[in-house]
């Protein structure tokens, strides 16, 4: 593995089910690598200190703010140790005709759309982690992100709608 004097080196990371080879410095945030190295610009910078959540992605299914994560934490060696499972990053680009996207469209849960990727990933994480979340719990989760255009009522309705839909859906065959 080539390492330059700035500490820049090649690593493998797993994003949206694909293994990607990236060159990164130990100080590079995951947000920076997703956007500037991998061209996944769905995750947005809004504050780069964890306040706004526009950069939210899923890490092993859990929503996290990618501006607060170092990309190198997700690097896997070329030949992983036996039994080691690479940590899996999912970005908004991996969502395809999901219930949460439909609900955001139906409820007009965005205007300018800049915070939307982050809210979608937060909601998707909630759906997976806490499918039975109470209305209060939904709001608690959504408090981590900022939207400046909508009234929040639309986003909350979209997320509650997603969970309700999930609960009433017939179990997969």
């Amino acid at each position: 593995m080539a390492t330059s004097h700035t500490g820049r080196a090649e690593h493998l990371i797993t994003v949206n089910g694909e293994q990607r080879r990236v060159t990164l410095r130990p100080a590079d945030t995951l947000l920076y690598i997703l956007r500037d190295e991998l061209g996944l610009t769905g995750a947005k910078p809004g504050c780069e200190n964890g306040d706004c959540g526009a950069c939210t992605v899923l890490v092993d299914g859990v929503p996290m703010k990618s501006c607060l994560l170092l990309a190198i934490e997700f690097a896997t060696p070329e030949e992983p140790a036996a039994g080691a499972v690479p940590r899996h990053i999912e970005t908004v680009e991996s969502l395809d005709e999901t219930e949460v996207q439909r609900q955001f469209l139906d409820h007009w849960a965005f205007q300018c759309g800049y915070c939307t990727s982050g809210f979608l990933m937060l909601a998707e994480g909630l759906r997976r982690q806490r499918p039975g979340a109470s209305p209060g719990e939904v709001v608690d989760w959504l408090r981590s992100n900022i939207c400046r255009c909508t009234s929040y009522a639309e986003i909350i309705q979209a997320v509650r709608g997603t969970l309700e839909r999930e609960r009433s859906a017939p179990p997969p065959v």
């Binding site: 769905g42 970005t91 007009w108």
Partner: protein, 775 residues
């Protein structure tokens, strides 16, 4: 079909839920250099820079300082150097610009630029600024070029502009007044806080063209200003704007575009991108004005308003930008939507050592509404009259004149009475009721009105072309920043051409080279101005379609109608040709052809607007008004002083709801922002003028769960007859009266008038304590 009046989803909505919607910083060509700002850490100081070390750091291509740039810029008054020269005037002001190969290198070098400060006395409040012997923020105010009059600077002072309304005879007004009330108000500057920070990229090609991409609301203004400042032909400057991630007025100011151009020029025209950090976006780029105001109202014993005397001091911070225009907009509607025969209003644009200010959603009308509506409530109290009744009695109506002597009609004004009556009904209940041992429910209501206060010669345009399948392409110069303006234009075109909305393709991004000029995407005017241009373009295209179809169908053009992608005989729709068969010329079976490509053209220029007279304020500031009534119910905890807005109501005269769900959610979003302004938002400065809240954790906006349990939005529909389908502007209005309504409710709850923002529990505790100490 029938696109207008339906809740049509935003054209770009599918891209916004898949991460595929592209914003400025998402589109960066390979090889783009990064610029980083060095910003001032003093509010007012002489500066000396040491940049040699930074210049020689790895990855650095160039370092620019104010010494390298001989330029003063400003929309109204040219008072602002792009990089500070000699002294800094606010904490966060750009003093140097580092251009490097990567972000890390640029930021590292920016930190290595040494700035020596020799502090000067800080003008930290409006009161400081207007005090005798105040330190001057601008020593050469008298020499600045007036780029866009009217603006009336007072040399050797901190008054950058003085706008006036003189209407009737104030002395007579006071003589006729049995009751008078006065109020003093202080409202802080506020942040636009769009989640996307501002960004600009510039590149200078060797053929002389200048390519600029930015987050601007005003691409054509960027084009004109860059051409003027740097002696370019306007056509050389090409500005593109992708989707914008929220703007709220803050992206109408031209700042980073100038810096990006300077940066590119310093590196032989290579592309350079400058993206604000959140902290820069809040402290370095402009904010919304702060306001100190004295308001005095007089009324007869029956409660009829006789006189209004208002003095506004607008805290524009270190530079004027658009504040003199904001001041005139406030003067124009200084009485609120009420009939007042005798008016005297003075609006001063005041320099301080604060972050400079620009337009903010509502263009001065949320602070204006706050001070008027709070004073109306005081007047009602003094007259012992129901505040709704007092407002009803004094409502302005058709046949009345505004403070600028603009005569009103039902079409230009709308129906404030209908809004007020319905809002009062929706908020029925006691102003204050004890709902538990320590809980009080209180209600408050306020009215707003607003016209556009736009330049009298503002223009817009639209171009319609056809595809071979008969679908159409629509080009306008409006920026899509969340308000759905492109979709509204598409609805209008679909409606007029009788096409399905899916058959109207829009240019999402604006490009000044190919899209027709639209003045600026501000003042909630896109539906009106771009809409009028689209209507004209649709008619132009239809006339051309008919003239070719008339030959094909062997009839007069007047015999033909257009709908569902066809031009048909009105008397027999079975005789027709399809758009696709004539839009690019009609080809006969033998191969010979007639007609040609059809290009629909439409334009609009404001009609009958005038600048305001410098002495009296007389003039015609906008084409129409949007009026509305808003109110809230709050639950107040008598022990902790904490309160929560539980219900928020808006009744707005929309003229016509072009897109009902779009209108409702736009207003609701504005209401949420307004509640944020009422309850928590405000720029804070330390004793030395240093900025105390330049992050989302310290400048608190609303978050999920803090919104009311219930939003009620109802629309009145009084058509504005010269607007497309009667629709009035709606984009800014959801927030306008919310802070006033919250203050009214809190005043009822605590039994004391609230005259400040934001209304935090701590501020209420101070208010109560001060009142008790005074007793």
């Amino acid at each position: 079909m029938n696109a207008v009046g339906h809740s049509v989803a935003r054209k770009e909505a599918p891209n916004k839920v898949t991460g595929r919607a592209r914003y400025c910083a998402d589109i960066t060509p390979a090889g783009t250099l990064t610029a980083a700002l060095v910003v001032s850490r003093h509010a007012h100081a002489r500066i000396r820079l040491e940049v040699d070390h930074a210049r020689h750091m790895p990855g650095v291509v160039a370092v620019l300082t104010g010494q390298d740039v001989s330029l003063l810029c400003g929309e109204v008054l040219e008072d602002r150097p792009p990089l500070a020269v000699g002294k800094v005037r606010y904490w966060g002001e750009p003093v140097a610009l580092v251009i490097a190969h990567g972000e890390a290198e640029a930021k590292r070098a920016a930190r290595a630029v040494r700035v020596d400060y020799q502090p000067l006395p800080v003008v930290n409040t409006v009161e400081d600024a207007i005090a005798a012997g105040a330190a001057l923020v601008h020593e050469r105010l008298g020499q600045y070029k007036r780029a866009q009059p009217p603006v009336v600077p007072q040399a050797q002072s901190n008054i950058a502009d003085h706008a006036k309304i003189r209407c009737g005879d104030a002395a007579e007004g006071w003589r006729n007044s049995a009751a008078t009330v006065s109020g003093h108000f202080a409202l802080p500057q506020v942040e636009h806080a769009a989640v996307e920070t501002r960004c600009a990229r510039a590149e200078i090609l060797h053929d002389g063209r200048v390519l600029v991409q930015s987050t601007t609301q005003a691409p054509f203004e960027v084009q004109k200003l860059l051409a003027r400042y740097f002696h370019l032909q306007q056509g050389q400057v090409i500005v593109t704007v992708p989707l914008v991630g929220g703007a709220f007025g803050g992206k109408a100011a031209v700042q980073l575009e100038i810096l990006a151009y300077l940066a590119s020029r310093a590196v032989n025209g290579r592309p350079v991108q400058l993206v604000n950090s959140r902290e820069e976006d809040m402290a370095t780029s402009p904010v919304g004005v702060g306001l100190v105001a004295d308001v005095k109202l007089g009324a007869s014993a029956e409660g009829l308003l006789q006189a209004a005397e208002l003095t506004f001091w607008l805290d524009t911070g270190a530079y004027t930008d658009s504040t003199p225009r904001v001041a005139r907009a406030m003067c124009s509607e200084c009485t609120g939507p009420y009939r007042v025969p005798h008016i005297r209003c003075d609006a001063y644009t005041v320099y301080t050592n604060h972050t400079y200010a620009t337009a903010f959603r509502g263009f001065g009308h949320f602070p204006l509404t706050f001070v008027i509506e709070r004073t109306m409530d005081r007047l009602a109290e003094q007259l012992d009259m129901d505040p709704v009744e007092l407002r009803r009695k004094n409502l302005i109506g058709p046949g009345d004149r505004t403070p600028t002597r603009m005569a009103l009609t039902r079409s230009t004004l709308g129906d404030p009475r209908a809004c007020l009556d319905r809002a009062a009904e929706l908020l029925a209940g006691p102003a204050r009721e004890q709902t538990g041992p320590h809980t009080v429910r209180a209600r408050g209501l306020a009215l707003f009105w607003k016209t556009s206060s736009s330049p009298p010669n503002a223009i817009s345009g639209a171009i319609v072309t056809f595809n071979q399948d008969g679908s159409v392409n629509l080009s306008t110069g409006t920026v899509e920043m969340g308000a759905g303006t492109k979709t509204t234009s598409a609805q209008i075109l679909a409606e007029r051409l009788g096409l399905d909305i899916g058959q109207v393709h829009i240019h999402t991004h604006v490009n000044t080279k190919v899209d027709p000029e639209h003045w600026k995407t501000v003042a909630s005017l896109s539906t009106f101005m771009a809409g009028r241009a689209v209507l004209e373009a649709a008619e132009d295209a239809k006339a051309q379609l008919k003239s070719v179809a008339a030959i094909v169908l062997k009839c007069a053009p007047g015999d033909l109608s257009v709908a569902r992608g066809r031009i048909f005989l009105t008397a027999d729709p079975n005789i027709y040709v399809a758009f696709r068969d004539v839009a690019h010329g009609y080809t006969y079976p033998g191969g010979d052809a007639i007609g040609g490509q059809i290009v629909g053209r439409g334009s609009y220029i404001m009609r009958h607007l005038t600048l305001l007279d410098e002495e009296t304020g007389e003039g015609h500031p906008g084409p129409s008004f949007t009026v509305g009534a808003q109110g809230v119910e709050i639950d107040w905890d008598t022990r902790s002083g904490r309160y929560r807005v539980v219900r928020a109501v808006s009744v707005v005269d929309a003229g016509r709801a072009m897109n009902p769900a779009g209108a409702r959610t736009m207003l609701q979003g504005g209401m949420c922002m307004g509640i944020g302004l009422a309850t928590r938002e405000g720029v804070l400065y330390g004793r030395g003028g240093q900025r105390l809240n330049d992050q989302f954790r310290t400048y608190r906006t609303m978050r999920a769960g803090e919104q009311p349990d219930e939003y009620v939005v109802e629309l009145v529909e009084t058509p504005q007859i010269d607007a497309p389908f009667g629709a009035r502007p709606l984009g800014e209005h959801g927030l306008l009266a919310m802070p006033a309504a919250v203050a009214a409710a809190v005043s009822h709850a605590i039994g004391r008038p609230v005259s400040h923002l934001p209304i935090t529990p701590e501020s209420l505790w101070r208010l109560t304590r001060t009142a008790e100490a005074a007793r």
